[in-house]
């Protein structure tokens, strides 16, 4: 190993300027307006008169170096070697003229990468690791995402929705996909208290931290088969897995009882309505790999009912707020159940505290 003395650390990422296309360098901060030319294609016009054409394609996020090289080939062929990725993991090709756009789109199509996601469309689903890489996952991430987007592809490649629709997926309550503010969120959930491995617990975990980790105080120290360990008041467990995060001997993963829940009506942008959290729509759908048909059906149902009924520019949550939750449940056919009623810290504030009811 190199001598720490001469080892270079803390230099940070390369400066972005190195990677900007010339048309951006020349017009940085001078953009005047943009237009969507067709699905997945937009132009930004500068005060200088220069134009920047963007073609956005589905990337897939989990990609091999082979695929990245193919992107590079396209960037070389059409964009002077420049490309970027978006905050939602699509890939964008940037050009200072529109001559190559159609050919580029065709090449992308041949590679299996549809173009779209700009404007009033669905774009790719923010997601996480799932069974591909994470120890916490209550479901897979990439498999559901692929299945849902296969099903909804027409809303990616066309702009026929009332407004933007953002879907996100997180494979457990840690919510690395930050699904808590999405128009539609898919959230992996456990439904069974941790199965304690009493044999390993004392070795792997500090009992006081385990006890302290539980937000509902469901964990108590206990001696089991002579081992110092913990026990769980199962009725008080809300399956958050915070104990597992601090202690590997308390896994919640369980093939029979893991699955996903569906949440709706969140948003992040400040456009019109202030940002909103997503709210529970469907408490539980069992995992059904490889294509989770119950999930894709449920989401298509939500998208279509919203698309048909929302006013222009109305995001999912804005639409529901206008029509009211009772009507939402009626229109979607989702049964309203005990699970929908909040019982956590601020529960009281989510109760209906007026007689504003329509019949």
């Amino acid at each position: 190993m190199a001598d720490p003395q001469e080892r270079r650390t803390d230099y940070g990422p390369p400066h972005y300027e190195k990677f900007l296309p010339p048309v951006i360098k020349a017009n940085y901060g001078k953009w005047k307006y943009h237009e969507i030319l067709k699905p997945g294609v937009m132009v930004h016009v500068s005060e200088t008169g220069d134009k920047l054409f963007t073609v956005r394609a589905a990337s897939g996020r989990l990609i091999s170096v082979d695929k990245i090289r193919l992107y590079c080939d396209l960037a070389d062929k059409y964009c002077g070697g420049h490309l970027r990725f978006t905050s939602r993991h699509n890939v964008e090709f940037l050009m200072d003229n529109d001559s190559g756009i159609d050919a580029l789109i065709k090449d992308l199509a041949d590679m299996g990468h549809p173009v779209g996601g700009i404007g009033n469309a669905i774009t790719s689903i923010i997601h996480t690791q799932g069974w591909v890489h994470c120890h916490s996952a209550a479901t897979d991430a990439s498999g559901i995402v692929k299945s849902v987007l296969d099903d909804l592809i027409e809303y990616f490649t066309e702009t026929k929705l009332p407004g933007k629709l953002r879907i996100a997926l997180a494979c457990c309550l840690n919510m690395c996909g930050a699904v808590h503010c999405s128009d539609i969120a898919i959230l992996g959930v456990h439904r069974r208290p941790p199965k304690i491995n009493h044999a390993t617990l004392k070795k792997q975990c500090e009992i006081p931290s385990v006890v302290a980790s539980c937000p509902t105080a469901a964990i108590r120290p206990a001696t089991v088969d002579g081992n110092p360990s913990v026990e769980i008041i199962e009725d008080d467990c809300m399956f958050c897995a915070n104990c597992f995060t601090v202690c590997p001997s308390m896994p919640l993963n369980d093939p029979l009882n893991d699955g996903v829940s569906i949440w709706v009506g969140g948003k992040v942008s400040n456009a019109r309505h202030e940002p909103m959290f997503s709210k529970l729509a469907i408490p539980f759908i069992p995992n059904n790999p490889p294509r989770w048909p119950e999930v894709t059906d449920a989401i298509r149902n939500l998208v279509e009912i919203w698309a048909k009924n929302a006013h222009p520019y109305e995001r999912m949550g804005e639409w529901i707020e206008r029509i009211g939750w009772p009507r939402f449940f009626k229109m979607t056919g989702i049964p309203f159940k005990k699970e929908h009623i909040d019982d956590f810290k601020h529960a009281g504030l989510t109760f209906k505290r007026s007689t504003h009811i329509s019949f």
Binding site: E234, D236, C240, F336, H340, I341, F351, H356, S358
Partner: protein
């Protein structure tokens, strides 16, 4: 005896001005009542010292009753012997606060003889408050009031004196008979009203429509608020009359509709009733032209209270719509189920609204056998902490019930 009144330069300032003066009232009473005279002196001292002079209440009452009297003693009994005892009696008002001069005079006579001669018409829960008497007068007063058919109201951990808006007696918007319900519930729950056996107080308030003129949604553990299910009744001629008289219907009526479900084309008002949230605004502004629908009943809400100690609560919907027909059995049965659960599992000094939050609305509804419907929530949960209640065991096809 008038010149025997203590000097009260501070309080005298409050005899001035156009609003009726409570100081004048105390002085009026003080002319005959040594209690009120000493109250005057005590209050002047409080005004000078900026502090009250009452000791922490003690438990006093009439035989067989656990509530209805607030015990009170001054901390300066030597100086103000007239208020060494100064207990308040809460007398259950007639529903709607209607009286005849005849009955009021009889109450006054008793109170002049045996109490301070001072009252609150009424207390903030709704009772007639007879303000200040001695322990030994309580039984005689109770007896004499009983001869007039007036009984005690609530205090302590019991049902508190129910109260209501004037409803059908005077108001065109009453969607059910608030006074009848108030009387009926008060009679039905006499035992619970007079013998504290709950974890804490329980208040009923009845309003005939969503204007909520007894503030039930803010001030009662159970709020029964009138509403309707069908279409707002419109008299288009009367609409035009308002328009002709210069009302800006577009701005002031349509523009204020919270559900944006109205329109006015210059001649007629149209309403998309399935979106109307029954807020009353349009009806309030145009009482001649608009009226609540004909299929009337009430929304029942649960749990409001003042802030001590978990923070104030507003009542929240537990029954979106119910027809209000005597004997109101469905409601009474539900109330009994709620009390059973709360009495069994509520903590001391835990109001039902706080109790619901602690045990979870869903569990509460299930235990009380109340249907779970989306009208109960402003929105579904935002947090993912669902207490799923079933899971499968390995080698077991069936659901296991949990928790």
């Amino acid at each position: 005896m008038a010149d025997a009144l203590p000097k009260t330069p501070m309080l005298d300032e409050l005899e001035k001005g156009p609003w009726p003066s409570f100081v004048k009232e105390i002085k009026m009473a003080a002319k005959r009542s040594p209690m009120s005279k000493d109250l005057l002196g005590l209050l002047e001292q409080s005004y000078n010292e900026k502090i009250g002079h009452w000791k922490h209440g003690g438990i006093v009452g009439v035989m067989g009753y656990g509530g209805g009297i607030i015990g009170r003693y001054t901390d300066l009994p030597e100086k103000y012997p007239g208020v060494s005892h100064f207990h308040t009696m809460r007398i259950n008002q007639p529903a709607g606060w209607y009286y005849t001069s005849d009955i009021l005079r009889k109450i006054c006579d008793i109170w002049e003889k045996r109490g301070s001669g001072l009252t609150n018409m009424h207390g903030s829960t709704g009772d007639i408050i007879l303000l200040g008497t001695r322990t030994e007068e309580l039984e005689p007063i109770f007896k004499e009031l009983g001869e007039l058919d007036f009984d005690l109201g609530g205090s302590g951990s019991d049902v508190r004196t129910p109260s209501c808006c004037c409803g059908m007696s005077r108001c065109e918007w009453a969607c059910y008979d608030t006074m009848a319900v108030t009387y009926d519930l008060t009679q039905t729950f006499q035992d619970e009203l007079h013998r504290p056996a709950f974890p804490y107080k329980f208040k009923f308030k009845m309003s005939g429509c969503p204007n909520d003129c007894v503030a039930s949604i803010a001030r009662s553990d159970m709020s029964i608020i009138g509403t309707w299910r069908d279409e707002i009744q419109i008299d288009q001629d009367a609409v035009r009359e308002y328009a002709d008289k210069g009302m800006n219907i577009m701005r002031d009526v349509v523009g204020n509709c919270p559900s944006k479900c109205m329109d006015f084309d210059g001649k007629e008002i149209s309403i998309e009733n399935s979106y109307c949230v029954r807020c009353m605004h349009c009806i309030n502004v145009m009482p001649k032209a608009l009226r609540p629908g004909k299929d009337r009943g009430a929304t029942i809400l649960l749990g409001s209270k003042a802030p001590i100690v978990e923070g104030a609560l507003l009542s929240s919907v537990i029954i979106p719509f119910i027809k209000m027909e005597p004997p109101y059995q469905e409601i009474k049965d539900m109330v009994e189920r709620i009390w059973d659960l709360w009495c069994e599992e509520g903590k001391a000094r835990e109001r039902v609204g706080e109790f619901i939050q602690r045990v979870g609305m869903g569990n509460f509804l299930e235990e009380c056998e109340i249907d779970i419907v989306p009208e109960m929530v402003a929105h579904p949960r935002e947090n993912p902490y669902v207490f799923y209640e079933e899971f499968y065991e390995e080698d077991d096809g069936d659901d296991e019930e949990e928790g």
